[in-house]
């Protein structure tokens, strides 16, 4: 099976057959011994070095925890059309403003239909005594406003759409 894994802005092609001790990374074979300890927890021995690997699944992006470091990644199955399309979408279409953290909506700064400039604040959410102003990613018009003050939102929720 061949997968494209994007880590820190770089795409790595990883090929492996479940059960086989050899994995190729960008075409280079690497000796790998893997043991799944429990779901999401893996012991890997790569070229003699042992690693405890923890998978973190999240609404926004999955990540690997490795030796005290958290490494987010994106995965593309080269056969997947959806992933291809997602990557080639340009900057012209409607853009969603998503909650970067869970919280409560405290203020809405632009109403539906209102024209906004790029970096203009649209929604303010609050969590743990800190407020976070979410800004418009581009100049345009508020096409959709999906939240009102008092609403509770999860990370990744679409709050508004700018077109």
């Amino acid at each position: 099976m061949k997968l494209e894994i994007e880590i820190a802005g770089r795409i790595r092609t990883v090929e492996h057959t479940p059960g086989e001790p050899n994995v190729t990374v960008d075409g280079v074979p690497v000796a790998v011994e893997a043991q799944v300890l429990r779901p999401g927890l893996l012991s890997l021995v790569v070229a003699g070095r042992a690693w405890r690997v923890v998978l973190e699944e999240d609404a926004n992006e999955p990540a690997i925890h490795l030796g005290g470091e958290r490494i987010p990644y994106r995965v593309d199955d080269p056969r997947s059309l959806k992933a291809r399309r997602a990557r080639t979408t340009g900057a012209d279409g409607p853009k969603a403003i998503k909650a970067s953290m869970p919280g409560r909506v405290v203020r809405v700064l632009a109403q539906k239909g209102e024209a906004v400039k790029a970096h203009h604040g649209v929604v303010v959410i609050e969590a743990m005594k800190m407020q976070n102003e979410l800004k418009s990613p581009k100049e345009g018009r508020v096409a959709e406003l999906r939240v009102a003050p008092g609403d509770t939102v999860a990370a990744g929720d679409v709050l508004a759409v700018i077109e």
Binding site: I5, L42, V53
Partner: protein, 508 residues
């Protein structure tokens, strides 16, 4: 004046707090054989401090103003549960003189200083007056609230720029402004006043001379109700972001025996002049010439108390309870010996890669460190949802070793073992600070962390990063193939992979 009380063990202690500190206090109660009572808001029904309690009562809805800040409800629960003492922890009502007084009126002992001492030291301007009376050095500037911009300009001219405007009722950096030129004073004065009004309900501000590149050094004091007071060495808390402590250590790498004694004795003088009892902390700024200036007094147990516990071998919460029971201090200043070095990291649910935004939510994965010299005071468990209603502290990780160098190495090792998944945390920030050459050489002051963060993302160690990224890519591919080949497409491959993996493990 001190009111002497006959020692009498508490029947039961109500813990008016949540999170790691509520657990910390409950553990001390259990060790002393005193039953304790937990309280919780709706958001905290499944919080660790409730799960670990023998007795627990609901306070109210999630907002702190309707739960943990409701002194009336706390006293009602204390009476219902038969608690004759309340430990306030830190934050919430811990420095609220009115609540301490209300406890006294209800016949419940407040485990902390008397309300009169809290009032004398609670406002920053009053504390500066108290410092003058106790003959301790403080930063030059005003000791009363500034009446007008005109007065502010005069004080600033007298002490010389740069100056600092601060809120009398302040804390957490709110209402604070640094000013380098007289032209800027008027607008800064007005902005500081309105910010102070909004944050603390009082627009009182005062001026003091800005100390350049100071270190934050604080002295832990303990006073009993029989007139004895001692100091337990210092903590250095210079690693701060926006005036919030991030890493604390004890002792400070730059405080020698003589300076420690002078700062300690000054702190004791201040505490005694205000009739202080129980645990407290006197904060100082230390300049590069080893001059120290009184900053403020915190009239409660501090977040960072464990580093002092580790280097003194004392349990501060045990001592707080024993003092509140009317016992005399079981040791004298000569019995206080400092040994080794301790470092503490405040683990927060916040995202250093995204403007330090808070990151509440469900903890899907938790692997905690252990081994020699590691202590963790934690308030979380795997599967718990960290509520969005309170401050983002998850846990305190503390490393202890004979030397500073080994304590740092231990902390780095423990950070490598620590995994918190599902929410963002600042664990990676600690790795960066502890690995930094300036931190390792103790070249730190209160502006150190801001300068480090301004350098942008850490570089160096490229090779090992490259290595890790390849391993991460392999691991991601293995996890993903398990996921994407699940039931519909190729049901066999998952179990085949698992079986093969198991066999490989067995054949080793």
């Amino acid at each position: 004046m001190l009111t002497k009380t006959k020692p009498r063990p508490f029947r039961k202690i109500l813990i008016a707090n949540r999170g790691e500190i509520a657990l910390r206090i409950a553990r001390a109660c259990r060790e002393l054989g005193i039953p304790s009572v937990a309280v919780y808001s709706d958001a905290d029904r499944a919080a660790p401090h409730v799960l670990g309690a023998a007795e627990a009562y609901r306070l109210g809805p999630s907002p702190a103003t309707e739960s943990y800040l409701r002194g009336d409800l706390l006293l009602e629960i204390a009476s219902r549960a038969g608690a004759d003492a309340i430990h306030p922890g830190y934050g919430f009502l811990s420095e609220n003189a009115g609540f301490a007084e209300a406890c006294g009126k209800s016949g419940v002992k407040f485990i902390g200083p008397p309300a009169s001492a809290m009032r004398a030291l609670g406002s920053k301007t009053r504390a500066r007056q108290a410092a003058d009376k106790a003959g301790m050095p403080r930063t030059p500037g005003s000791t009363t609230a500034l009446a007008s911009v005109k007065e502010a300009l005069k004080v600033a001219d007298d002490i010389g720029y740069p100056v600092m405007l601060k809120a009398s009722a302040g804390g957490g950096g709110k209402g604070m402004r640094a000013i380098t030129r007289s032209e800027d004073l008027k607008s800064a004065f007005e902005a500081a006043q309105s910010e102070a009004e909004r944050a603390f309900g009082s627009n009182e501000v005062y001026l003091e001379k800005l100390i350049e590149h100071p270190r934050h050094i604080e002295i832990q004091v303990l006073a009993d109700e029989h007139g004895h007071c001692l100091y337990l060495g210092e903590r250095e808390c210079s690693v701060q972001r926006r005036h919030q402590k991030v890493i604390e250590e004890a002792p400070s790498a730059v405080v020698g025996d003589d300076l420690r004694r002078r700062m300690g004795e000054a702190a004791v003088r201040l505490a005694q002049s205000a009739g202080y009892t129980n645990a407290g902390t006197v904060e100082f700024l230390l300049d590069s010439e080893e001059n120290f200036y009184f900053l403020e007094m915190n009239t409660r147990l501090q977040v960072e108390h464990p580093v002092t516990e580790l280097i003194t071998g004392l349990d501060l919460v045990h001592l707080q309870i024993r003092i509140a029971q009317g016992e005399p201090l079981p040791l004298t200043q000569q019995d206080v010996h400092l040994r080794g070095h301790a470092v503490e990291c405040r683990v927060y649910a916040e995202d250093p890669d995204n403007g330090f935004f808070p990151s509440p939510g469900k903890i899907t994965r938790l692997l905690q460190p252990g081994g020699p010299g590691i202590r963790e005071d934690s308030g979380i468990y795997e599967g718990w949802t960290v509520p969005m209603d309170y401050d983002p502290m998850l846990s305190k990780l503390i490393a202890f070793a004979p030397t500073r160098e080994t304590a740092i190495a231990r902390m780095l090792r423990a950070l490598d073992e620590y995994v918190i998944g599902g929410i963002r945390t600042n664990l990676a920030l600690f790795r960066r600070i502890l690995g930094d050459a300036d931190f390792q050489a103790a070249r730190i002051d209160t502006g150190y962390l801001d300068r480090l963060l301004a350098q942008g993302p850490a570089t160096g160690a490229e090779n090992s990063l490259e290595d890790r990224e390849s391993v991460a890519a392999i691991a991601a591919a293995i996890f993903e193939s398990q996921r994407t080949t699940a039931p519909t497409t190729a049901p066999q491959s998952v179990s085949a992979w698992k079986r093969a993996a198991r066999e490989e493990g067995l054949s080793r």
